[in-house]
C-alpha cells in the first residue's frame, strides 16, 4: 500500500509518501505519523470532514515551531502503520483495506471510534458483515472479547462473548488471555455465561415435555428390536411395540409421546450444563448434529432400521423439529444479548465504586476529550 513504506518499522521516520500508489497525494497538506514512524501524506480537509476529532484538532491554531516533514505539519498517532493504512483507505474513494485478522479489525474499529469516525465505522461493519474472518479458536476467542470490551466496541463484544460459549471457560483455558481483561470485563463474561446457561437449562427443560405443541409430533415407538424389558409383549417375530420406559421405547403422555432416546439426549445436555464452565455450552448450530446422532443410534443401531416409527416421524417432520430446536436455543441465548448494553450503563454510571477505586485510570469508552 502506498503509504506504508517497505512494510517495516524503520528506526527513524520515513519520508512522507502519497497514499496509495495510484492515488495522487502529492498535494497533501499534512503528515500523519504512525507509532512505528511511518508517514502518510494526507489532506486536512479529508480528515476534518470525516472526523469531528480531527476537525477540532486542526481548527486550533498551530504553534509556530511545530515539527514538520517536508515542510508539512505532522500529527503523531498511537496506531501502527498497518492500522493507519487501513483507516486512511476508508477516507478516500478507493477500495478499503480491511485487516485480515479479527484482532486487527477490532483495533481498526477502536481507532475509528476514538476519532469519532462513526459513519465510517458503520460502513466498515456493514462491509464486513458477510466477511468470514478466520474463526477464533480457543483462547483467541477470549482475547478478542477482552479487546472488544476494553475498546468499548459493544457489538463486537457481544459477538465475541457469544463465541466464547463454544469453549470451556476455566483459568487453565483462558490463562494466556487474562492480561487483556479489565476486571469488569471478566466479571461480565462470567455473568453472561451464567445467564446463557440458565436460559439453556430452562429451554432444555421445556424440551422434555415433548407432548406439548410444537413438539408433539412423536408417536409410540415401533421398535423392531426384541425388547429386553421384563414386561414386554410379543409382536410378530419377536418385534414389538411397547410403551414401557426401556431405552428403546417411548412413554405416552396425554397429548403425545416422548421418545426416550430424545429425552435422554435432552437430559444429557441438561447434565452437561452443570459443567457450563468446564465444557463448551450447547450450541444452537450443533443441536441438529446431536439430534441426528441420537436418532441414528435409536433407529439404526446396527445400520439396519429398527424403529420405523421414529424414522418416519423424522422423515416427515424432522427438519421442522430441528429448526424449532435451533430457534428456541438461539432465542434462549439471544435473550441474554442485551446483557452487555445494560452492563455498559452500570459501569458508565459508576455504580461499582470498588471498581472505580481500583482502576481510576481505566476507561472502557474512550472519548475525544480523553484522547486529547
Amino acid at each position: 500500500m502506498g503509504g506504508l513504506q517497505n512494510g517495516t518499522s524503520p528506526a527513524c521516520p520515513q519520508r512522507a509518501s502519497p497514499l496509495p500508489d495510484h492515488l495522487d497525494m502529492s498535494d497533501g497538506d499534512i503528515v500523519i505519523q504512525s507509532c512505528d514512524l511511518i508517514n502518510f501524506r494526507v489532506h486536512k480537509l479529508v480528515l476534518s470532514l470525516s472526523s469531528p476529532f480531527f476537525h477540532d484538532m486542526l481548527s486550533l491554531p498551530q504553534p509556530s515551531d511545530e515539527e514538520a516533514v517536508e515542510g508539512l505539519p505532522v500529527v503523531r498517532l498511537p496506531e501502527d502503520a498497518e492500522a493507519l493504512n487501513s483507516l486512511l483507505t476508508m477516507l478516500y474513494p478507493i477500495p478499503s483495506v480491511i485487516p485480515n485478522s479479527y484482532d486487527k479489525y477490532l483495533m481498526l474499529l477502536a481507532a475509528l471510534q476514538k476519532y469519532d469516525m462513526v459513519g465510517i465505522q458503520s460502513r466498515i461493519r456493514k462491509e464486513t458483515q458477510n466477511r468470514k474472518f478466520p474463526t477464533a479458536t480457543g483462547t483467541a476467542a477470549f482475547r478478542e472479547y477482552a479487546i472488544a470490551s476494553c475498546r468499548g466496541l459493544t457489538s463486537e463484544r457481544e459477538t465475541s462473548a457469544r463465541l466464547t460459549l463454544d469453549f470451556p471457560m476455566t483459568f487453565g483455558y483462558i490463562c494466556d488471555s487474562l492480561p487483556f481483561f479489565e476486571n469488569w470485563a471478566l466479571f461480565d463474561l462470567i455473568g453472561f455465561r451464567k445467564r446463557c446457561r440458565d436460559n439453556l437449562v430452562l429451554c432444555f427443560q421445556s424440551f422434555l415435555d415433548l407432548g406439548n405443541p410444537p413438539f408433539n409430533i412423536w408417536m409410540s415407538c415401533m421398535n423392531l428390536n426384541p425388547c429386553q424389558c421384563s414386561h414386554s409383549y410379543g409382536y410378530g417375530h419377536g418385534y414389538h411395540s411397547c410403551s414401557c420406559s426401556c431405552s428403546s421405547s417411548s412413554s405416552q403422555t396425554q397429548t403425545g409421546y416422548s421418545p426416550t432416546w430424545l429425552t435422554s439426549l435432552f437430559q444429557q445436555l441438561l447434565t452437561d450444563l452443570n459443567q457450563a464452565f468446564t465444557k463448551p455450552l450447547p450450541n444452537p448450530s450443533s443441536i441438529r448434529e446431536q439430534y441426528m446422532s441420537a436418532l441414528q443410534a435409536h433407529t439404526k443401531p446396527s445400520g439396519i432400521i429398527s424403529c420405523f416409527t421414529c424414522a418416519v416421524v423424522h422423515a416427515m417432520n424432522g427438519e421442522t423439529f430441528c429448526k424449532e430446536l435451533e430457534n428456541r436455543l438461539e432465542q434462549a441465548i439471544s435473550k441474554v444479548g442485551n446483557f452487555f448494553t445494560s452492563r455498559r450503563n452500570y459501569w458508565s454510571l459508576n455504580i461499582y465504586p470498588r471498581y472505580r477505586y481500583l482502576c481510576p485510570n481505566s476507561h472502557s469508552f474512550v472519548t475525544s476529550s480523553q484522547l486529547a
Binding site: 483459568f171 490463562c175 487474562l178 476486571n183 471478566l186 481500583l358
Partner: protein, 330 residues
C-alpha cells in the same frame, strides 16, 4: 546510609521540592473539602520546635522535627538535604521553615506520622487507606516503620488480611507493588475454590493480569502439595499415628482426603477432615474401627499433615519472593 540519587531522580515526578518557605507561625489547618476528618489532630503535628513542614497534596501541613523524619526515611532525608542546599543560597529565609510538598494526602501522611513520631500509632480504618499507607511507607523506604505498621495490622481483630478481604488486598497490593501483602492475601485466597464460576463477584475488583498471577500462585501451591502430600502418604506417618483401624488397613478416607487437598487446597481445614471421616463411618454403617480412633492420634496426624501443607506453602512463598527479587534486580 549514603544518599540514593537514583531515587531522587525516580521521585522527581512525584515530589515538588518547595523552594518557597513558610512563615513559622502560619496555622496548619487543612482547607475545606479535604480529607480533614481523617487527619489525626495531634500536638506533635504542630510542634512549636518544629524545623520542617511536610505538606500534603490536599494542603494539610505537618510541622514536625526533622530528626524523626531523616532517621526513618533515606528518601525524605535526601529530599530535605536537597532542600537545605537550595535554601542555603537564599539569604532571605532565615525566619521561615523549610517545607516539602509530598504527593500523599493528609490522611495518609497523618497516619504515617503516627508510626514515625513517638505517639500512639493509628492505622487507617479502610483497606484502601491502609494499602495507601503501606505504599507510602514503601515509597519513602521506611523499612522499620513498615515493620511497625505490619505488626500493628497483624494484631488487629479481625485480621487485616482474611478471606473476606483477600482479593481486594491482593489487587491493591499488586497495584502498589506491596509484595508481602500480595503474598499474604494470595495465601488467604487458598480458602476459596479457585474457579471462575465461584469467584465471579471477587473478580470484579481485580485486573486480569493480576488474576493470572494469582492463578499461577494457586497452580504452584497445588503442584507442591501434590508432590509433598504424595510423599507424606507413602511415608509411615499416617500409619503410625492412625494405625490400621479400618478392617486392618490404613483408612481409605485418609488417602482420599489427602488427595483432595492436593487438588483443592481449600479443603485443608479441620472441619473438612472430620467430614471425610464422618462420611466414611456413615458409609460403613458405623461397623468400622475408624469411629474409635483416639483423639490424640487424630490430633497428632493433623499436626503432621499441617506441617507438610504449611511446608509446601512456605516453599511457594520463598519461590515467589525469589522471583520478585530476581525480577527487580534485572
Amino acid at each position: 546510609m549514603s544518599p540514593n540519587y537514583h531515587h531522587l531522580h525516580h521521585l522527581a515526578f512525584d515530589f515538588e521540592l518547595s523552594t518557597m518557605s513558610t512563615p513559622v507561625n502560619e496555622p496548619s489547618s487543612p482547607p475545606a473539602g479535604s480529607d480533614s476528618d481523617e487527619v489525626v489532630e495531634n500536638p506533635l503535628f504542630d510542634d512549636p520546635e518544629a524545623d520542617i513542614i511536610l505538606r500534603s497534596c490536599d494542603h494539610c501541613e505537618f510541622r514536625v522535627l526533622k530528626v524523626y523524619i531523616v532517621k526513618v526515611s533515606p528518601v525524605l532525608r535526601d529530599l530535605i538535604q536537597s532542600q537545605s542546599a537550595l535554601n542555603s543560597h537564599d539569604t532571605g529565609t532565615t525566619a521561615t521553615l523549610p517545607s516539602i510538598q509530598l504527593p500523599d494526602n493528609g490522611a495518609t501522611l497523618s497516619s504515617l506520622l503516627t508510626f514515625v513520631l513517638p505517639m500512639l500509632p493509628l492505622p487507617p480504618s479502610t483497606i484502601e487507606q491502609t494499602m495507601t499507607l503501606l505504599s507510602a511507607g514503601q515509597k519513602y523506604q521506611m523499612g522499620s516503620v513498615l515493620s511497625h505498621i505490619r505488626t500493628v495490622l497483624s494484631s488487629q481483630d479481625p485480621p487485616f488480611v482474611r478471606p473476606e478481604t483477600a482479593f481486594q488486598v491482593y489487587s491493591l497490593a499488586q497495584t502498589y507493588g506491596l509484595r508481602e501483602e500480595a503474598l499474604q492475601a494470595a495465601h488467604s485466597t487458598l480458602t476459596f475454590s479457585f474457579t471462575l464460576e465461584d469467584l465471579e463477584g471477587e473478580l470484579s475488583t481485580i485486573p486480569g493480569v493480576y488474576i493470572r498471577e494469582l492463578w499461577k500462585y494457586h497452580q504452584s501451591v497445588r503442584a507442591h502439595l501434590a508432590q509433598d502430600l504424595a510423599a507424606f502418604k507413602t511415608a509411615s506417618v499416617p500409619h503410625e499415628e492412625i494405625g490400621q483401624p479400618c478392617n486392618s488397613c490404613t483408612p481409605p478416607w485418609l488417602g482420599e482426603y489427602i488427595d483432595a487437598i492436593a487438588e483443592t487446597p481449600a479443603l485443608f481445614n479441620i472441619n473438612e477432615f472430620h467430614l471425610f471421616l464422618s462420611r466414611h463411618i456413615n458409609h460403613q454403617h458405623g461397623q468400622c474401627g475408624c469411629a474409635n480412633i483416639p483423639s490424640k492420634a487424630m490430633h497428632n496426624f493433623w499436626v503432621a499433615l499441617s506441617n507438610v501443607v504449611h511446608g509446601s506453602m512456605t516453599k511457594v512463598s520463598v519461590e515467589v519472593f525469589r522471583r520478585y527479587h530476581v525480577t527487580s534486580y534485572n
